[in-house]
Symmetry: none
Subunit: 154 residues, 2 copies
DNA sequence: CATATTTGCCCATGATATCCCATAGTGTCC
DNA sequence: GGACACTATGGGATATCATGGGCAAATATG
């Protein structure tokens, strides 16, 4: 299970290529699929990134044990799995962002990768900075809950 | 599980390298990841340090079973995991503080490592001294509660 | 079928980080 | 008290990363 940490901003060249930060690449299994999965967030103007294993788990959760799913789950499947793209690394560790993904996040010449543990996000830098400040304020008000969260993991 | 104790101030050279105190290094598992994780505190102008296992637990707690998390947890993931960096030891036991981490803590030429048990903090020395005095005063007013705290830990 | 357009691979480059060695100060052990 | 071990620190050499351009195969377009 990968652990995506840190925030990095990289350039998107005219071909739509972006280097995935090494910190993220080295967190992926060396012997698995050499690439990532990206899908449009339906909550923010950003992309969600994950490894293949995570998406398989997600697919399992949505479908349930018998492949019969509710309307809500079908909606989830459409929103997430439908917009998901499998993005392979080129020999230099870059991915090619497709036009629809870039449009959804408003990405043009730069992309910010934000590690969130098991997943990460890809943002247009200015949009992320605004989002980050909001999230930071929210985190401060919830700081008191950090203790319980950690203890739960023990 | 590491136990970080004591306070040490070390020099930051012009490349941004700092020696992690031996007391901290030897507390880490010899056969695990050779390095630490550091992230920006959203409460103080300092950095938090922890070992990899601690961050994995934190990531698990924040994500829950599914990977779709609450707004509060997403905010925490942004503030903590987004600012976290995996800092490997060089052969001499030093880490490389990235520019944004140094900026957050106001660190320039020296860094103070403060052991807090399972985690530790990294401060700009003068800022820590000021913080320490405040904490000390606070501790005195709470002295009556120390007994119960110790008993609880037994 | 000829011609654009994309897609992926290979190489070159500058910036950065990593490794390796050298030194000085400190404490430890005979 | 003197030799030794180890930590902290600094500098120079080397490897790695992010980035851009060019080329060729695959695909689309007329």
């Amino acid at each position: 299970m990968p652990l995506f940490l840190s925030t990095t901003t990289n350039r998107v060249d005219r071909k739509g290529r972006v280097s995935v930060p090494v910190a993220f690449r080295s967190s992926l299994p060396a012997s698995g699929y050499q690439g990532i999965i990206a899908y449009a967030s339906f909550k923010h103007a950003c992309l969600h990134g994950a490894d293949l294993g995570f998406m398989e788990q997600l697919s399992d959760s949505i479908h349930g044990d018998f492949g019969l799913y509710s309307d809500e789950n079908e909606a989830l499947a459409n929103a997430i799995l439908g917009s998901a793209r499998q993005l392979s690394f080129d020999p230099e560790g870059r991915i090619n962002l497709s036009k629809d993904l870039m449009d959804h996040a408003g990405i043009t010449s730069e992309a910010t990768f934000v590690g969130l543990g098991k997943t990460f996000q890809i943002w247009e830098p200015a949009a992320y900075e605004a989002h980050r400040l909001v999230q930071l304020a929210l985190a401060k008000t919830k700081a008191g809950e950090l203790g319980p969260i950690i203890r739960r993991g023990d």
